[in-house]
Symmetry: C2
Subunit: 347 residues, 2 copies
């Protein structure tokens, strides 16, 4: 087995897409699959029927169920498993990778047990020299179809960012680099809290004025938490922030939005999840976001309300009160803990 240029771990939608993009540009990519039948289907028939029934995969894409074989010799390793399986994968990788392999996460979530970012888990368990993350407004079937798409790439090492970008970039997949790894990872995950809240408002048929208010205050709220955790707030105004949020709030394909819409219509979370093939990341992220905020003594009213709606502890119809009741009447105050409206209270 010769090492490939890129190893992608996880045969879900994002993992398969990234492996295929790399392979379609003529590079060798190897996809680590959980299931032997998926792996065989890719190797023998160039198909991954469960994810992309209509796509013929590139000849330079190979699959394996052997993690050691998948990562061996690959200068770039991209991990794309669900967030709550990520720590387990990182532990498995520990003895398998060398310090010089660049490890990227393509998972937009937070580990609920440790409250760590995905790249933190990679760093912790592998001691890799360079870890990073991929994010951005990325619907995978659109990437597969060759639609013009931007992804954001950040890592702990400037050279690793540039090298990884060179491998992933194509005419149709534009890689935008960002130095703020903490921000890129946090916004990719936390924006789903806002997407769920806007989804709830949509399910409730709240006015567009109200939804726009909710979206704006929601992103300010998660931005505040992220800045407290070391993020650059400008990352929230980039592709992985408002770009991805706009996408998630408008795409009928987004499961994170869908959870919110159905909660807003009065369905129970258990019922909604029972109908879905996989658990949307937002289900974990909402709780992780609340836990992160509380641990820092921050008050995030939209996150708290969304979390309580998830838990059946708040009527979705009460979400609006989160917005109407407050005294936070200063538009661009980036620090809700020291409200500037004290001099401007008009209520």
């Amino acid at each position: 087995v010769i090492g490939c240029e890129v190893a992608v771990l996880g045969d879900g939608s994002m993992g398969t897409t990234l492996a295929q993009v790399v392979a379609a540009s003529g590079r060798s990519a190897r996809l680590w699959c959980r299931s032997g039948s998926t792996s065989s289907s890719i190797n023998e028939r160039r198909r991954h029927d469960r994810m992309f029934p209509n796509a013929e995969l590139a000849p330079t894409l190979s699959a394996t169920t052997d993690l050691e074989e998948a990562v061996r010799g690959a200068p770039l390793v991209i991990c794309a498993v669900p967030s709550q399986s990520f720590h387990g994968l990182a532990k498995q990788l520990g003895p398998l990778v060398t310090r010089d392999q660049v490890l990227l996460s393509a998972t937009k979530g937070i580990d609920l047990r440790s409250l760590r970012r995905m790249s933190e888990l990679l760093q912790l368990e592998t001691g890799a020299r360079a870890v990073g993350a991929i994010s951005g407004p990325n619907i995978t079937p659109e990437i597969m179809a060759g639609q013009l798409t931007a992804i954001v790439l950040a890592s702990s090492d400037h050279e690793a960012t540039a090298a990884s970008a060179r491998v992933l970039q194509t005419d149709r997949l534009r890689v935008y680099a960002n130095d703020d790894l903490v921000g890129v990872e946090l916004v990719g995950a936390l924006k789903n809290v806002v997407a769920v809240a806007v989804g709830i408002a949509t399910g409730l048929d709240l006015a567009l004025n109200t939804r726009s208010l909710l979206m704006t205050r929601g992103i300010a709220e998660i931005c505040h938490l992220a800045v407290n955790m070391g993020a650059d707030e400008r990352t929230f105004w980039g592709l992985g922030g408002i770009g991805d949020l706009y996408l998630t709030c408008t795409s009928p394909q987004s499961m994170n939005r869908e959870v919110g819409v159905r909660l807003g219509r009065g369905e129970k979370l258990a019922t909604i999840l029972g109908d879905m093939k996989e658990v949307p990341e937002s289900v974990y992220t909402v709780r992780a976001c609340r836990a992160l905020a509380r641990a820092r003594g921050l008050m995030l009213p939209i996150t708290e309300a969304t979390c309580r709606i998830f838990e059946g502890d708040l009527d979705p119809a009460d979400l609006e009160e989160t917005l109407a009741g407050g005294h936070e009447l200063y538009d661009i105050d980036s620090d809700p803990q020291t409200p500037r409206e004290s001099t401007l209270r008009v209520a």
Copy 2:
């Protein structure tokens, strides 16, 4: 005639709505109407059938066609006429108002002849002590229906901002103050350039990934211009910025979005405007934005392309090239003139 608490100049959708909100909260408001029949209808029947056929207007709302009568003694005067009529109104106001009257613009546009903001025109022509602006994600029928709505209010004078906010605030119309008058006015106008561009992409059926990229880079582009003109970039991340942009990009009621969608489908601007009751502000703003950028030596590719599509000089299908072709591959670079990607070029 006793002076009212608020004079609203312009009987269009926004003017009528603001006057009604003030009057419904028990204050006296006077609406200056162009047409005698509208004025009579409001005074005699409490109706403004052209704008809000189903609404009964508050008894403390009176109407007049006499500008002097409208503004006399009103501590707060709100101007809500179309942007290209605004300078004319400001000139008329010159001899009619006193220095102590606070003058606000509720018009989201730029004067194409002078390239001035609306509040600049008020200041210039009246010498008022305090001028300002109202903006935000505000669909007027939703405000009329009592849906929870936030507006942004900025003025050249801190006390005037607070006093005006107190007059306008209700339980359902929340006033968020902002100190950055330049930013609030510019974002209210310039966000329509982005809304049109996203509309064109929608009309072209471009992928959501691509539209999200366009939206993100579009707002970065107009933010860059506005910062060059003295705005605080944080205003672009507030209610009048991403809040209003999200609204405009998603609302089927937005004429600015609609112009873009129909251009994207291949219709000519003249045909589109022929079907509309009024000229959407974006038609002027797109040209004003380009002129402002060129005068400052700034290159705004999305604005340039949108302008050329308006003029029939660029095929809408070529809009995408604006995004695909560039070398600007740094996510959160706020200054496109000194691109940081020089060290990160991956193409």
